[in-house]
Assembly symmetry: D2
Homo-oligomer: 277 residues x 4
C-alpha cells in the first residue's frame, strides 16, 4: 500500500482539523502520522499528514480544496525517491557524504547529475557512475555562466537543487528559475559571518563555537529560510584552517539532515522562516 | 478565556482524529495546538490538544468517551499553576534552581513544602517563605521513615512530588502511594551508572561525557520512564569531584525542564517509556 | 601549603619553558599543573603554572622577570577567594544562579555587593545578607549615573565586576575605570544579534539555535574578547518569549562558567580574543 | 624542517619539566607546542611536546632517558602519514567517511588495506584503488578465522588497525597481537548498552539521547580505554531503526576524530583510561 504525504498551508479558522480529517475519513484513508502547527502571530495553519490507503488523487485534492480557505496551498506527495541535482565547486566533504549515503541506499533520492564550475571532483563523482557536468565560468559573465548552468540542470529531471559547497554567488534570476527548490549549506552559524570566508571571520572574532546553516535559497544571499543548524566547539588553539576542518563535519551533517527533511516533505516555507513538521 | 489541555491515550483505530475533532467542533471549541503520535508497534494513539472556549467539562468528557475505544484514558487539565512538594537531602543546586525560578515567577507551580531527611537546607528554603519539614531518618527503619514522609506529604495539596536530589532509596510501597506522580533526577546518563555515586563510576570508567536523567519513579530503582536527558563533556583532567561539579549544571537544568513538561501536561507514560507531546 | 598561579604572557623565544622551569626549580617549588600556548601568528607565549611550596614572592617575581623578554606581563596570584561586585537590572536568573552557588560554597568568591539601577532584586539579594545598592538612573544623564555607580563600586574591595544582565550601555569612560575587570553576559550567540533584544532578532530571522556569550567588556559594545559561549536548540513553535525563556538557562550557565574561569585565573586577554589555560 | 612529537609517560617527580626542557634546549630544538598533565592520584606525569630543529634521534632519546625515572616510557614520532589497516563487515558509513577524507587528502594516513569477513564493501573500496581482502569466516572457528585475518594484516605495513564497524568479537589472542594498536567504534554511549544491538536496547529503555564511543581495544569487550564520545538527541517517535540511522552520523564522526587523535600521537593509554594531550 502506498504512502502519501499531504501538506496543507492555509490561513487558520475554526474546524480545520475536523474538516480535513473528515475528508480523509470519508475517503477511507488511514492517518499514519499527523502534525499540525498554528502560527498565532500570522494566523497561519500548517499540517503534514502521512496517509495510506487507496488514493484517488484528483478527487481527494478537490474534496480537500472545497473545505479550505481560498488561500490554501495543498501538496500531495507520494512517498518515493526524489530526483536531485547537486552543484559543487572544489570541496569534497559535503558531496562525499551525500555520495556515501547514496551508495549505501540510505539517501532516498536519485542523484541525476553533479554540476561544477571546476573539474576537481569529476574523478570522485564518476566513481559512483553519476553524470558529472563541468561548466567552467572562465571568460563568462556571471549571467552567461548561470544561463549555461540552468540549461544543464533543465536537461535532467529534478525536484531539488543541492548546493553542496557551490562557491558562486547566485543572481536573483537564477533563483527565480527554481523557487523554493534550492538548498544551500552556509559554512557559518547564520546570521553570524555572512559573506566570504566565515571561518576567517570567526577566527578573527575569537568565537568559542562555530557552526553551519542549511537554508532555502532566496534572492537575498545568506538570508533564506533556515532549515537546520548545528555547531562545534573551538578554542584559542584553532587557526582558521583548523576551524574550517572542524566545521566540515558540521557542514556535511547539517546539509544531509536538511536534505533528508526535504526528501521527506517535512519543510514548509513561511515567510523567511521554515516550519518543519 | 480559559485554556484546557486534553490528553487522550488509547488503542489506535481509524477515524480517531476525525471523531475527536468532531466533538471539539460541535462543542464550539478552538484548537490552539494539537499534537498526536501513533506507536505502530503497540498500536497506541496519543493526543494532546490545547483547547480554548467555554467548556462544559462533564459533557465534553462524556462525549469524547463515547467515541473512543474502551481502554481510552482521558485527562482534561486546566492551564493553571500545579501544586508540588519537593523532597531533598543536602544538595543545594537542584532545589536552588527551582527556588530561583519560583521567585522569578518563571515556574508555573506552587511549592507547597520542601521535605528533607536533613535540616541542611532549612535556612535556604525558609528565605523563600516556603514550609520546610525536617523528617530525620535516624533511629527509624526505612519503612517507618517513609510512613512519616508520606504522612507529611499528604498534609499538603500536591499534584507532583519532585525528588530534587533526595538521596534515599524508595520502597515500592512509597511509590505506590504516588503513582506516576514522582519525578526524580538521577545524576548519570541512564542506563549507565545505576546506583550509588555515578560520578565516581564515570571517573573510574574514564568516560568523556557525563550526563543526567530525569524520570518518573516506578518500583524499579533508576528504571522508570525517562523524560529528559542531557550531557556535558569532561576529559582526563577531571577528578570525580570535578565531574560532580560539572554535572550539577546538567542535573538542575534537566530537572527543571522535566518539571516544566509535567506542569504543561506534556508527558504520557507509555510502558517504561514516555511520549512527550 | 599555599598554591599560587603564575601567569606569563610574553613574546616567544627559544628556551622560555626551560628558563622559567629552571627558576621554579631553583626556588624549590612544585609544579602542580602547567599549561602553555604559543600563538605563532603573533609570536606570543602564554603560560599558566600552578605552583606550591614556600614562596618568596618578590624574589620569585624578580628572578622570573630577569629571564623573560622585556614586554613580559607576569602575574602571581594566590589561590584564594576573589572579591566580586555584581551589577544587575531586573532579571533574576543570572544573579540567582550566582547566589545559589554562593550559598552552596561552590563559588570561590566573596560577593561584596549587588548594585542595580532598579530595586526589583533588592528583596532577593538581601535574603542572602549581601549589601544591595540601588542607584536609580532617573533624572540623571548616562555620565552622571555612571559616576554614581563607579563611586559605589569603589567603596568595596573588588577584583571583578560581573554584569549579570545589567541592561545599560556603558561608556568608554566607565570601562576605562575597570580595565579587563568587567565580565558581561550577552544574550545571543555573538557576533549574531548585537544590540537590543537579541531574542526578537533571532525569532525574526528564524534561527534553529540560540545562544549566549560571556565576554570581557571593552570600549566597543558587544565586541570584547569572548570567554565562553553555549547554545540551545529552538524550533518554529518558539515565540520570542519562549526563546528568551530557553535562553535563560544558557545565559546563567555560560556566565557562571566564565566567572569560574576568572576566579581560577585561567583567562588571558590577547588582543580582542582570550586564551584560556 | 621536520617536526617530531615527543611523548613521555613516567612517574612524577620534582623538576621533570625543567630537566626535559633543558635537554631540548641543549639540543638546540624549538618547542612548537607543549602540553603536560600530572595525575595526582597515581603520581603519573604525561607530556607531549612538538619539537622542530635538527634532531639527532639516538642522542636525544638517550639524553632524555638519563634524566627520567626508570619507569619512563618515551616515544619520538616523526610527523608523517601513518599506515593503517581497516577492518569492516557490511556497513558503509564509517568506512565511507574515512575514504572520503582519504581521497580529500584530509586524512593524514595511508590506507594499506581494507579487510572484511564479507565482500559487501569490496566494490566501494576498490573504487578508491585500495586493496580489499575478503576473509570469510564461513566454516571456520573463531580462532581459525582470526589466524587468517592476522596473517593478512601482517602482510601490510601498519601502525594502527581501525575497526570501522567490524562486527566480530575479538579473542584476547587477537588483541595481544596488536597491543594498543586497535581502534574500535562502539555504537552506544558506553558503558550503556554493552553487547549486541545497542540501538534496540536504547529503544527498549526509552532513552532520549543515544551516542557512540571510540576506544582502544583490550581483552575485555567494550571495556577498553575511551578516546572520544558524542551523542545525538532522539525522542519517542524514533524506532530503533531510526535510532540506528541517527546514530550513524555520530559513529562516523567520533571514529574519524579518534583516528585523527591517534594519527597526531595525542593519545596516552593510562590504565583503562586515556590521557589526550
Amino acid at each position: 500500500m502506498e504512502e502519501y504525504r499531504l501538506l496543507i498551508n492555509t490561513s487558520d479558522e475554526k474546524g480545520l482539523v475536523y474538516n480535513i480529517s473528515k475528508v480523509l475519513f470519508e475517503h477511507g484513508l488511514n492517518i499514519e502520522n499527523n502534525a499540525e502547527y498554528v502560527d498565532n502571530d500570522t494566523n497561519k495553519f500548517f499540517m503534514r499528514t502521512v496517509i495510506s490507503g487507496e488514493i484517488k488523487r484528483e478527487k481527494l485534492l478537490s474534496d480537500i480544496k472545497k473545505i479550505l480557505p481560498k488561500d490554501a496551498q495543498i501538496k500531495l506527495s507520494l512517498k518515493a525517491k526524489k530526483n536531485i541535482v547537486i552543484l559543487v565547486t572544489k570541496e569534497t566533504h559535503c558531496l562525499g557524504d551525500i555520495l556515501i549515503r547514496y551508495v549505501d541506499g540510505e539517501l532516498d533520492a536519485n542523484i541525476k547529475a553533479v554540476i561544477s564550475n571546476h573539474n576537481t571532483l569529476q574523478n570522485l563523482v564518476e566513481k559512483f557512475d553519476i553524470p558529472f557536468k563541468y561548466v567552467s565560468h572562465e571568460d563568462l559573465t556571471r549571467e552567461e555562466h548561470e544561463e549555461k548552468i540552468i540549461e544543464v540542470i533543465k536537461k535532467f529531471d529534478y525536484e531539488l537543487i543541492v548546493l553542496a559547497k557551490y562557491m558562486r554567488i547566485l543572481t536573483p534570476n537564477f533563483v527565480r528559475n527554481f523557487p523554493k527548490q534550492i538548498l544551500n549549506i552556509h559554512h557559518s552559524f547564520l546570521p553570524a559571518f555572512i559573506g566570504a570566508n566565515p571561518y576567517k571571520q570567526a577566527f578573527q572574532r575569537g568565537v568559542k563555537i562555530i557552526g553551519a546553516t542549511a537554508h532555502i535559497v532566496t534572492d537575498d544571499l545568506d538570508e533564506g529560510p533556515i532549515i537546520s543548524q548545528d555547531i562545534v566547539r573551538v578554542d584559542h588553539t584553532y587557526s582558521w584552517q583548523n576551524m574550517r576542518e572542524a566545521g566540515r563535519n558540521v557542514e556535511k551533517i547539517v546539509l544531509s539532515n536538511a536534505l533528508n527533511m526535504f526528501i521527506k516533505d517535512k519543510i514548509f516555507v513561511h515567510g523567511n522562516k521554515t516550519v518543519i513538521l
